[in-house]
Symmetry: C2
Subunit: 108 residues, 2 copies
DNA sequence: TGCTAATATAACTGAATGATTATATAATCG
DNA sequence: CGATTATATAATCATTCAGTTATATTAGCA
């Protein structure tokens, strides 16, 4: 059996997802725990469409998962198919402070 | 002593360097062995200024080293300061075939 | 059923980016 | 020194991309 090798083009696409500060911060947040869109908007202090569009890219790229739970949609990290990202996620700075500063359930 | 934590902005900059197919291919080549500019131009079948500019970005980003040896300038991987890139480099597909196909010393 | 809250999509704009062409610099060699 | 080779830099152009504003969709709730 041959392990499927990730192509250069495919890896470049994935790296592009991690090459934006906003997206990388979202991933650092999701490393701590799953979050809904409004959580992320509050913490990053930007607009909702901005976050929504970044999340869509991350989802399309297979890096995050989406689950609707009544009116909220929760996003979480999906690292399973990209082992070469493990090390990067581990090195992402902790967002604990920012998450704690954001009082829970302020939106959801 | 506090281990210096890589900032999100800094990581995003580094990821941007890996988010281009041409640059990622160059890195895959350098994983096999150091190379001069003309080697890379020959193998990737593109223009010399194109490769030269990509190499400059990689050098500025601290991912490759440069050594002049008479008229040729050799580039090599510099992974030392970015441990979170190890896993990625390991997963870069092998370029052995392409390197072997390119007859050595055809330019340098 | 209508209202509100959460999220997504669309259209637009300014900035960044990769490739190309043309030119400059630097080193070797006759 | 002049010619040639290797590499870098500059200028230009078309494309891509992140963020904003405006609008649409979806779900809960009164």
């Amino acid at each position: 059996m041959v392990l499927s090798e990730t192509s250069i083009a495919e890896m470049a696409e994935t790296m592009k997802l991690l090459s934006d500060k906003t997206r990388l911060t979202i991933l650092a947040l999701l490393k701590e725990r799953e979050m809904c869109v409004c959580d992320i908007v509050d913490i990053l202090e930007t607009t909702q469409p901005n976050i929504s569009q970044h999340l869509k890219k991350l989802k399309t790229g297979g890096i995050v998962n989406e689950t609707r739970r009544s009116q909220w949609i929760y996003y979480s990290l999906n690292m399973s198919d990209k082992p070469y990202l493990h090390e990067i996620f581990i090195h992402l700075p902790s967002m604990k402070d920012k998450i704690d500063a954001h009082k829970p359930n302020s939106c959801c």
